[in-house]
Amino acid sequence: MIATYTRRELMVVAAAREIRDGEVVFVGMRLPLLGFGLAKATHAPNAVGLFENGVIRDRPAEAFIYTMGDPPNIAGAVACLGLNDVMSLLQQGRVDLGFIGGAEIDPLGNLNTTRTSASGSLVRLPGSGGGGDIASLAGRTVLIMEHEPRRFRERVDYITSPGHFQGRRRGGPATLITTLGVFDLTGGRVRAVTLHPGTTPEQVRQATGFPLAIDESIPATAPPSTDELAYIRKADPDGFWTGDTMKAG
């Protein structure tokens, strides 16, 4: 039996599926944090998580956390170091996978979280945080986005987190997980891999501000199993991150 689930719960499951066993993962907050815990609990028990505040964990926090600095994310950690320490591991090439969110994306996987004039007037966004570093230095990146036309732009106003470009040393965007589907970004273009159940190709085209490859026979994203849902609801009991109203970016 498949229980009902939210889009964000499905996105957490999709994020977890991107993590391979034994990988070193730059985790980040919100959905990827839950995805990391879910992967650890299921198919990737040997994955290791790095947090930009300097925390290294190989098991999920024991209690719900709002931020990576909350006490349950420190208790039971493998190590508590500094930002430059974990960023150095990233620069050295020892991080397989990093997750990044963005306010705007273009077909090359460039993300903008700095400033935009897409609505006609200037809007200042919070900035890079560690996103630009993960985009530059991780072995591959998985991007997490709200799927809305104003966010999917032919060209972003500002490249906070670089996508594919000539002369890139390593990595680059591999997968994009949105509120509508899962997309492959490896070829420097956006190709739909699965659409979330109930989503049509037409809906995705409407919600994407640039052309994208999408087969009419595209499969549906596999829904969460009851075990996966049980894990997510234990980790996020009030649906703070995975309820229907929380923003993913």
């Binding site: 505040n53 208790a75 960023m87 560690g130 570093d133 906070t160 987190s161």
Partner: protein, 290 residues
């Protein structure tokens, strides 16, 4: 703290943000400050919205749980209450800039940011050749704060400071800054510090002032002392959407309160008790016998 100082704070990222000091800076109406930090969960937004800030050197300014910082947006987009200059960074370039200063170097090279817009035409980041013939890099110039403000669990009267949990850029900033102010949950006898020298992240000779200020980081968390008080972050996010809402918040939580003790009383004993960590999970003892 002086007018026009470059101040580094919020260096551990989401935990240990020295909010007591932040609110005192606002009460003392320090002006034309430059703020330095990696991310800045709400503290930079409050300082900017209160009109104390001329420039921000940071990777992220906002409210981690809520998203946008509306005070930052009003200043950047509309010049309210005043225009600010923004020097955008990534977390790592802030870290390298402080590390270079901490090491006494003019710059540190890095591969981060190549291909993106942050480093394009940046006042502190320039392309540099590898003298050993490798691929070209970016040089991140040293950044030396006038003041670093750091909240820790305990320190002795000399300022020797123990901090445990995530460190973020705490060490780099304390080593780089001309003056370092330590606020702490408790002042302890120097024997406590010397019993575990590996936990001393800031040696006292680098510390200009040490202040016992329990709860001085609330509503952010302090490992072993305070849970994160989530509600004030969300409430601030909501009320600071409008200038009036911000002013009202500022009066209630900063201007009308003389100090941090008054802040704790205003929170209410029940709320403070709910956040205080009473559980104990002590580290195993380490034998330092000679």
């Amino acid at each position: 703290m002086h007018e026009g100082d470059a101040v580094a704070l919020g260096l551990a990222l989401e935990s240990g943000i020295p909010f007591a000091a932040v609110h005192e800076i606002i009460r003392q109406q320090r002006r034309d400050l430059t703020l330095i930090g990696p991310i800045s969960d709400m503290a930079f937004d409050q300082l900017i919205a209160a009109g104390t800030v001329a420039k921000v050197i940071a990777a992220w300014v906002g409210n981690v749980a809520g998203g946008s910082g509306y005070g930052f947006r009003r200043a950047y987009e509309q010049g309210i209450p005043r225009r600010i200059v923004m020097e955008d960074h990534s977390n790592f370039t802030v870290g390298l800039a402080l590390k270079a200063a901490a090491m006494g170097l003019p710059y540190l090279p890095t591969f981060t940011g190549i291909g993106g817009d942050i480093v394009r035409g940046h006042p502190r980041i320039r392309p540099v050749d590898d003298p050993f013939g490798g691929p070209s890099l970016l040089a991140v110039a040293a950044l030396k704060p006038d003041v670093a403000i750091i909240h820790v669990q305990r320190a002795d009267v000399q300022g020797n400071a123990h901090l445990w949990g995530n460190l973020g850029l705490t060490v780099e900033a304390a080593y780089a800054a001309r003056r370092t102010i330590v606020t702490c949950e408790e002042i302890v006898p120097e024997e406590v510090i010397r019993s575990d020298p590996n936990r001393t992240v800031i040696p006292g000779f680098l510390v200009t002032a040490v202040v016992e200020e329990p709860g001085g980081a609330l509503p952010s968390s302090v490992q072993g002392f305070w849970r994160r008080d989530f509600e004030p972050f969300l409430r601030y996010h909501q009320v600071s959407r409008t200038l009036d809402g911000f002013q009202e918040w500022l009066r209630e939580w900063v201007l009308d309160l003389p100090d941090r003790q008054a802040y704790l009383r205003h929170m209410g004993d029940a709320a403070a008790e709910r956040l205080r960590i009473h559980d104990r999970r002590l580290a195993a003892a380490a034998n330092f016998a000679p």
